[in-house]
Symmetry: C2
């Protein structure tokens, strides 16, 4: 446990500030991780990621297993060398993508058979296979193999939870690399008793971190918040909590207030490719004609390269002209916004004023300007 | 002429080394200018351009006139501020695009009427309009309005040349901004007598630089070289010569050996988007499976970010996965290659060994490895 550690440095309300130590560097928490699905955060170089102070990057085992192959990445020195990112990396188990992307799939207690969304070829993932693939990829933080069903169906969630717990134990047994921290995943949909059962089972595994899966997949915000509040009381204080796939500005604030430490989400980069900018006052549609003559930056308070260099008028021109640079510049801004927001949340926690910060944020965020302002 | 000057620093054979001074910085020549058609060199930030030591960037008046509009760019502070590029910029006159891109066009001695390739709207360009648009855009080097016909039709070239000369005089008369250097353009297709007539007419206008148009548009390499050799004897020594739209590695070497100082071309960035890399030994197709496990950089001798950070295997993965980063990383390398090549040509000229350098280059370049190596 010398290669990996979590140090809790402060609390404010239910919010937590800490530091996750990994073999490739420290991650001050709360932290937001950009998603590099195919071993690239779309439209950005690793240098861009360093400039916006990303501290953790996620990559997807399902995608990299299918293309270019985990064995190939291992032979090329592992994911850090392959994608040119020297900082901490987290890989998911592949489970979520099998259930959301694969063409057909068949689940049994041993694992999942599925067809590739790329070419229809037949594949099988088990807990042991997922951990072996993640060992080949070589990320700092890896995930137990789990089943992630739709959140509202009780019967499906019971069955999936039973498997997820079985698979967590098998994932742990298959885990070999001491330089990788294996996180197990709490599931249970929107059902308080299932979530409680899952939290107790997963916590008992004593993994160095705990992930919360199956949220932001169709439930309401109130349902998500209720689950997080219930889990906060049950999860161990001394291990980082990673809420998978969540990442709008208001979600970050609300979930940090409910005890979450780590986040990842494709939202900021996907929105960038759709020509939308995130701000602390809501979203801006950069295709709107209203921006065509606007010399102001996206956000006058933002220190990112995009806001320091370019006008809304220029960004609007790039979007209207379908130039690739639009996605790059908007991704820089959107990611930087979420990273700055988690840094500000961290400071507010360390200074004991999280609730004041959150209240001010909510007041601003509610004053959303209309699209295109 | 204090804002703009050309200083010839050395010759080797017919090759020239010099420095072009502009209000936004100096351009050591020979130099290659990346093309930023729509006020962005596709897939690159201005910082990338600075890193690869680009000294001059081209933008297209035709495209920027149609979208977002030259008046709008002027109101936003001109092209340098708009696109966030603080170095020298060159704009073309719009003539070439009207003849190559516009949906329909009608030429008379006064100018050209055409329909936009974007929305079919009707527009008219004249020498006066082109210079006014370029004044609004605010580049350091601007071009006289010209007609660029196919290179092999004698009658069309005679007629176009008569107009090009008329229009060069009118462009000069319309030129007002002292911080912009107006270059006139030599035309005449592949016909030695027309080229000679054009060189004498254009040289007599005493513009601070002379462009050579109508090459690399369908003629053979031998025809292009013959035109350049004929022009070299006729063009004034004390003004920079800009060969428009030329830019493969071997073209740069051969044309520098025939007295050319400035180049621009979409080839390196267009090839990057088509997943091909330029090297001094020919091209590499990065989609080829042969690269899938290759840990080597594109070019072990190249100092660019791409070659210093990523393997061919990773680049091949990005190309196969249709990731946007492929275009960015290959554009960085391809442009850097041409910029380094012009810098090496410059050194060879200053050291009086251009022909030796060119011979060694030709020997290497002829040893092209098969695609995918």
């Amino acid at each position: 446990m010398t290669l990996f550690a979590f140090r809790l440095e402060g609390r404010s309300g239910r919010g937590r500030a800490g530091v996750v130590r990994t073999p490739h560097g420290e991650i001050p928490t709360p932290a937001f991780a950009p998603v590099g699905t195919q071993a690239t955060v779309k439209a950005l170089t690793p240098r861009h990621l360093a400039e916006i102070e990303a501290r953790l990057v996620l990559a997807n085992t399902y995608h990299l297993y299918l293309r270019p192959g985990a064995e190939r990445i291992a032979a090329l020195g592992g994911l850090h060398a392959f994608m040119g990112w020297p900082g901490p990396i987290l890989t998911d188990s592949g489970g979520f993508q099998v259930f959301s992307l694969a063409a057909t799939r068949q689940v049994d207690d041993d694992g999942v058979s599925f067809r590739s969304h790329l070419d229809g070829s037949l594949h099988r993932l088990t807990p042991e296979k997922s951990i072996a693939l993640q060992a080949q990829l070589g990320a700092d933080i890896i995930m137990a193999f789990d089943e992630c069903p739709p959140p509202h169906d009780r019967r499906t969630n019971e069955e999936a939870l039973r498997r997820t717990h079985l698979w967590a134990e098998r994932s742990l047994a298959a885990h070999t690399r001491q330089d990788q921290a294996l996180f197990a995943i709490v599931q249970g949909g929107i059902f308080p008793d299932l979530r409680e059962q899952s939290a107790r089972t997963i916590a008992a595994l004593k993994t160095p971190g705990i992930a919360i899966g199956g949220l932001s997949v169709g439930e309401t915000k109130a349902e998500m918040h209720a689950v997080l509040e219930a889990l906060d009381a049950l999860l161990p204080e001394d291990r980082p909590r990673y809420l998978m796939g969540v990442g709008s500005p208001d979600d970050l604030v609300e979930c940090v207030c409910r005890g979450v430490d780590l986040f990842d989400c494709v939202l900021p980069t996907r929105m960038a490719r759709n020509h939308a900018a995130l701000t602390r006052r809501g979203r801006l549609n950069l295709r709107a004609a209203a921006h065509a003559d606007d010399p102001r930056p996206l956000d006058p308070g933002c220190g990112c390269y995009t806001c320091q260099t370019f006008s809304r008028a220029y960004l609007r021109h790039l979007c209207a002209s379908e130039e690739m640079l639009a996605a790059t510049l908007l991704s820089i801004h959107n990611l930087r916004l979420l990273i700055t927001l988690t840094a500000d949340l961290r400071t507010a926690i360390l200074e004991g004023r999280l609730e004041t910060f959150a209240e001010a944020f909510r007041a601003d965020y509610r004053k959303r300007r209309p699209e295109g302002e």
